[in-house]
């Protein structure tokens, strides 16, 4: 297991801990970790704070190297990390700040169904989702795309899937981050191998921590925001967590190799070679950004297709069209991505490259990028927890723009390794334990439920509470799982 972090963590207030710039040579800014007293003890247990300090060494980094309360050890950047760089000051883009699963993200679909309507058919529903939404190793998508079609998806994102393939509703696009398409995608920068990996996988869940969950809204904190999102206590929702599948993994793999010698070329000293990067404005940086955006667009298509499949399943099980079941998309948000976003830095309007690796965008009310429906309440932030306890819907607050470059946590954060989780499951039936909590679970892989058991994660309530208290986001609703499918 990883060694504990022994460097300085200075408490700033009840939610924030500072790693001072003086901690190691090369740090250009302080590190700042959001956590309470309990979470910080977990965080000290691995080397993720060291990674926060390493990221603080990146050229052009602005204000802080940030970490959310769900931080844990990652590659180069920690998971739960946020870093904004200023291209005008030599700021860099780093694939390690995005991760292998480009635009891994979450979407939430609400329904008019109440839990009392669903319970009698819950098992049938979960079985039908498991049978119809491809998940697990080697499961191909229901819809096959030729290379030219795939290139269109990479360039133009989920609008293509909705408008040309009829796999969704126009209203889905309004409530998908960036409308489901980041401009500037370059499908021609994506390798043939990435195409080969991605072609059969669009519309598949994958495995690991990816899931599709049937949930019930079991508590509402902010009635007005919940109402705007179409959420109320007792209704059923569907949450999808997945990303860009093999295509995105391969884009990351390709560019980690391509960029290996690039820091030397630009005279960039790095404390960890996994932070390989290139100046945003360099040809190499632009090439990665173009390919990364293409993979991000693929991920939105992937989640859009699974939304279509989920609607088909609900329609069949409840014998009514999805429109009549009120299956509207609440929101879709990325949590592994780098985006160019405008910020005020020391009174100067500046476009920054914001890396969010295991961190969710959380724009406040009034932000021009929000769909009109959410401008009054702020951006919905979707935070999956674990399959036994809860997930949360939050909204972004002005504090996010002031302190975290419009960012928030992305989940509960893993606490136990996969091996430890399997060992902790010896002699137990996780399937049975979930059933006792009222959750019907189906998993393709034999150890999937053990590795992803609830105890492997931090308590998501504690994680979101830190950011609620810090004024970064506000709780809107808690969602309790009742059915889950996994790879």
């Amino acid at each position: 297991m990883a060694e504990a972090f022994t460097g300085p963590l200075e408490r700033l207030d009840s939610c924030r801990w500072r790693i001072p710039r003086s901690y190691k040579p090369g740090m250009r800014v302080d590190g700042l970790i959001y956590a309470d007293d309990v979470l910080i003890d977990h965080i000290r247990g691995d080397r993720s704070p060291e990674q926060v300090a390493n990221v603080a060494c990146l050229p052009g980094i602005v204000k802080y190297s940030l970490a959310m309360p769900d931080i844990h050890w990652g590659y180069g950047f920690c998971i739960g990390g946020v870093a904004a760089t200023d291209p005008g000051q030599g700021g860099v883009i780093s694939p390690g700040g995005v991760g292998y699963d480009i635009n891994c993200g979450v979407r939430l679909i609400r329904t008019d169904l109440r839990i009392s309507d669903v319970k009698p058919r819950l098992e049938k529903l979960v079985n039908a989702l498991f049978a119809n939404v491809p998940c697990g190793v080697g499961q191909g998508g229901r819809i096959k795309f030729r290379k030219a079609d795939l290139a269109r998806l990479l360039e133009d994102g989920s609008p293509v899937v909705v408008r040309q393939h009829g796999l969704g509703w126009e209203s889905d696009l309004e409530v998908t981050e960036a409308g489901g398409c980041i401009p500037g995608a370059r499908p021609d920068y994506v390798s043939d191998t990435a195409y080969e990996r991605g072609a059969p996988q669009c519309g598949t869940l994958g495995s690991g921590n990816h899931f599709m969950e049937v949930q019930v809204v079991d508590h509402v904190d902010d009635a007005h925001a919940a109402q705007v999102m179409g959420l109320e206590e007792g209704i059923v929702t569907v949450m999808i967590h997945s990303g860009s599948r093999g295509l995105g993994y391969q884009v990351c793999e390709d560019f980690l190799k391509v960029l290996q010698d690039v820091p030397r070329k630009y005279g960039i000293d790095l404390p960890d070679r996994q932070l390989v990067c290139a100046p945003v404005h360099s040809p190499e940086g632009q090439r990665y950004l173009g390919a990364m955006r293409a993979a991000a667009n693929y991920a939105w298509c992937n989640r859009q297709i699974m939304t279509h499949l989920a609607r088909q399943v609900f329609a069949a099980v409840f014998e009514a069209p999805a429109e009549r079941l009120g299956m509207h998309l609440v929101y879709d948000v990325a949590h592994n991505i780098a985006k160019m976003e405008p910020y005020d830095v020391d009174g100067r309007a500046t476009e920054l490259c914001v890396h969010r690796k295991g961190a969710t965008r959380a724009f406040p009310p009034g932000h021009p990028e929000l769909p009109p429906r959410y401008r009054g309440i702020g951006q919905p932030v979707l935070v999956p927890g674990d399959m036994g306890r809860a997930s949360y819907v939050l909204v972004g607050l002005p504090g996010s723009m002031d302190h975290t470059f419009g960012s928030c946590c992305h989940g509960a954060g893993r606490m136990m390794s996969r091996g430890a989780a399997i060992r902790a499951s010896k002699g137990r039936s996780i399937h049975r334990e979930l059933l006792d909590r009222g959750v019907i679970a189906r998993a393709r892989g034999r150890t999937g439920l053990e590795e992803e058991q609830p105890d492997a994660y931090k308590d998501v309530t504690q994680v979101v509470s830190v950011l609620h208290e810090a004024g970064i986001s506000r709780k809107v609703a808690r969602l309790r799982p009742v059915g889950v499918i996994k790879g």
């Binding site: 691995d46 050890w73 590659y75 699963d101 697990g136 990996r197 690991g208 993994y249 390794s417 150890t447």
Partner: protein, 139 residues
């Protein structure tokens, strides 16, 4: 010491420690470890000859590149490398041959999807007892 491997813990992912008496023997053990991470894979019949050459500046990276190539082959063509023979394994060059055979899905058990072979904490070194490589795979 017989060549072999073991998994070690990493927060969200999986670590592989491969060990052998000599550097060359690390390669087939690493292949075995990769497939064991994915599941209990059984090769089918009718193999096709396969050969790989990697050049670079570090043996650990060459081994990683080779494993990444096998991962892509598994994912895109459902094939696995058997009868692994190492022709060259120096700091700057790795040459491996073998036979690609289709995975027999009826007799195999798939456990988890491997996203990538990472550079994280990647190492390959001589130890007191032989040679050891450590590779972390992204799950």
């Amino acid at each position: 010491m017989a060549p072999g491997f073991e998994f070690f813990d990493h927060t969200a992912d999986l670590g592989i420690r491969v060990f052998a008496l000599d550097r060359w023997a690390l390669v087939p053990a690493a292949v075995e470890a990769l497939y064991a991470a994915i599941g209990e894979l059984v090769p089918g019949r009718d193999g096709e000859a396969a050969g790989f050459t990697f050049v670079g500046t570090a043996a650990a990276s060459l081994l990683r590149d080779f494993m990444a190539e096998l991962l892509v082959a598994f994912e895109t063509r459902a094939i696995m490398l058997t009868d692994v023979s190492v022709r060259v394994f120096e700091d700057d060059r790795l040459e491996v041959g073998g036979s690609f055979r289709p995975v027999d899905h009826d007799r195999s058990v798939l456990l988890r999807e491997v996203k990538a072979i990472t550079y994280h904490e990647l190492s390959l070194e001589k130890t007191g007892a032989g040679w050891e490589a450590r590779i972390i795979i992204d799950i």
